[in-house]
């Protein structure tokens, strides 16, 4: 069973992502804070990371940069789920090490299609 880490400051968003992916057999761990998610990444092994961008404690770009410094997560796919769609933001995320981008709101099919495509 593939394991996914999902980070978002909104609990409702985390629930949406978790239930949608769990229904397809993925195991999903949810976090509202980037620091907690980072701590957990080193304790567990995930096949995919999903993150929001605009978060109060640690923004998504910083989170992605920190993830890429962990040797075992150098090539793990990272999906950005955000309301942002500016090209500049996308470029920032790409440079930080993101693998794919979905602009919110999204459908269950869109999320599953992207996850199935990039998950390792």
């Amino acid at each position: 069973m593939k394991k996914i880490l999902s980070l978002d400051d909104s609990v409702t968003m985390l629930q949406s992502v978790k239930i949608t992916l769990k229904a397809k057999g993925y195991e999903v761990a949810t976090f509202t804070k980037g620091s907690e998610a980072l701590n957990n990444l080193t304790r567990d092994k995930y096949d995919l990371i999903i993150t929001d961008l605009n978060m109060p404690e640690m923004d998504g770009i910083t989170f992605i940069q920190k993830v890429r410094t962990i040797p075992s997560y150098k090539f793990t796919p990272i999906l950005v789920l955000t309301t942002e769609s500016q090209a500049a933001k996308k470029e920032q995320a790409r440079k930080a090490g993101a693998t794919a981008w979905i602009t919110k709101p999204f459908t269950a099919e869109q999320l599953l299609m992207v996850v199935e495509k990039i998950v390792r």
């Binding site: 909104s10 609990v11 239930i19 949608t20 229904a23 500016q86 794919a100 979905i102 999204f106």
Partner: protein
């Protein structure tokens, strides 16, 4: 001061709305999660039951087919055996047929008749010889006795033969009757077993169909719940937008407090997290009508 308080009140009201909507959606999403879990468990139980039923059905159909095959063999063997027994009886009966018996009796009667003639001749000869023929007379008497006994034995033999003949005939008839009844029963059993096997197979197919339909319904239910759950994200999107409105109100509050108007519009713009917010801002500031634009919701990009 009054306006400042009013702005504060509006901020708090909006914050409360966000909290309430979040709590409601979290509760709904948890209920949906439990629902999906229940559906998943039910599906697993149904799959397990289906496998069990299929296993049992396959076994019962297998057993019935085995019984049917065994029964057919027993039926064939019994039929053959009964036919051979009947044939034995018929052969036996043939041996006791009236003609054969009559021939034997005729031979015996002929022997008896000739013996009687011998006895008569012996008597005559004894009388002719007088005293010298006394011993001859004794022999003649003995022969006569033998003839009488033989006649009695022949009569008895005929009677017994007839009795035996009747018995054999009855037995043959009973066996023939038994053969037809017994074979009929066995054939009935055979067809019943075959019918049961067919019913078992049909039942298995029907049960599998029912289970498959139930499984498909549960799968659909799970899909419907999942599809609904994804809509809970709109609470977050609305909350985000309302939080940005609160940020705007805070700026107004600050302005009312300090009277500083500098870069208010630019500062609120920095809080926006979506293109739509920026566009609405731009159109409102420039007093332009808001035109419907295709926003990039659900836009996917692979890097």
């Amino acid at each position: 001061m009054e306006a400042q308080k009013l702005v504060k009140v509006l901020e708090k009201q909006i914050e409360k709305v966000i909290q309430l909507s979040e709590a409601a959606v979290i509760e709904m999403s948890q209920a949906s999660e439990s629902g999906i879990e229940i559906v998943k468990e039910s599906k697993e139980e149904i799959t397990a039951s289906l496998q069990e039923v299929e296993k049992l059905n396959q076994k019962s159909v297998g057993d019935l087919n085995y019984i049917a095959a065994e029964n057919s063999q027993v039926l064939a063997e019994t039929e053959e055996y009964l036919k051979s027994v009947i044939k034995e009886f018929e052969d036996l009966f043939e041996l006791w047929e009236e003609d054969s018996q009559r021939q034997i009796v005729q031979i015996l009667e002929e022997v008896n008749r000739k013996t009687r003639v011998v006895a008569l001749n012996a008597t005559i000869e004894a009388a002719r010889l007088g005293q010298a023929g006394e011993s001859f007379a004794v022999v003649a008497k003995e022969i006569q006795k033998l003839v009488d006994q033989t006649s009695g034995a022949i009569a008895k033999l005929v009677t017994q033969n007839r009795f035996l003949q009747e018995k054999v005939k009855n037995m043959d008839e009973r066996l023939t009757l038994m053969e037809s009844l017994f074979l009929e029963k066995l054939k009935n059993i055979e067809s019943l077993v075959k019918e049961s096997s067919k019913i078992g197979e049909e039942w298995g197919k029907t049960t599998a169909k029912i289970f498959a339909k139930t499984e498909a319904s549960l799968e659909n239910l799970s899909k419907v719940i999942s599809a609904e759950v994804v809509n809970f994200q709109f609470q977050d999107l609305i909350a985000q937008r309302l939080n940005n409105v609160i940020q705007g109100l805070k700026l107004i509050e600050e302005y009312l407090e300090k009277g500083e108007q500098k870069e208010l519009l630019q500062r609120i713009e920095q809080h926006y997290t979506s293109e739509e917010e920026r566009e609405i801002h731009y159109q409102a500031v420039n007093n332009k009508n808001i035109e419907k634009k295709a926003y990039s919701a659900g836009e996917i990009e692979f890097f």
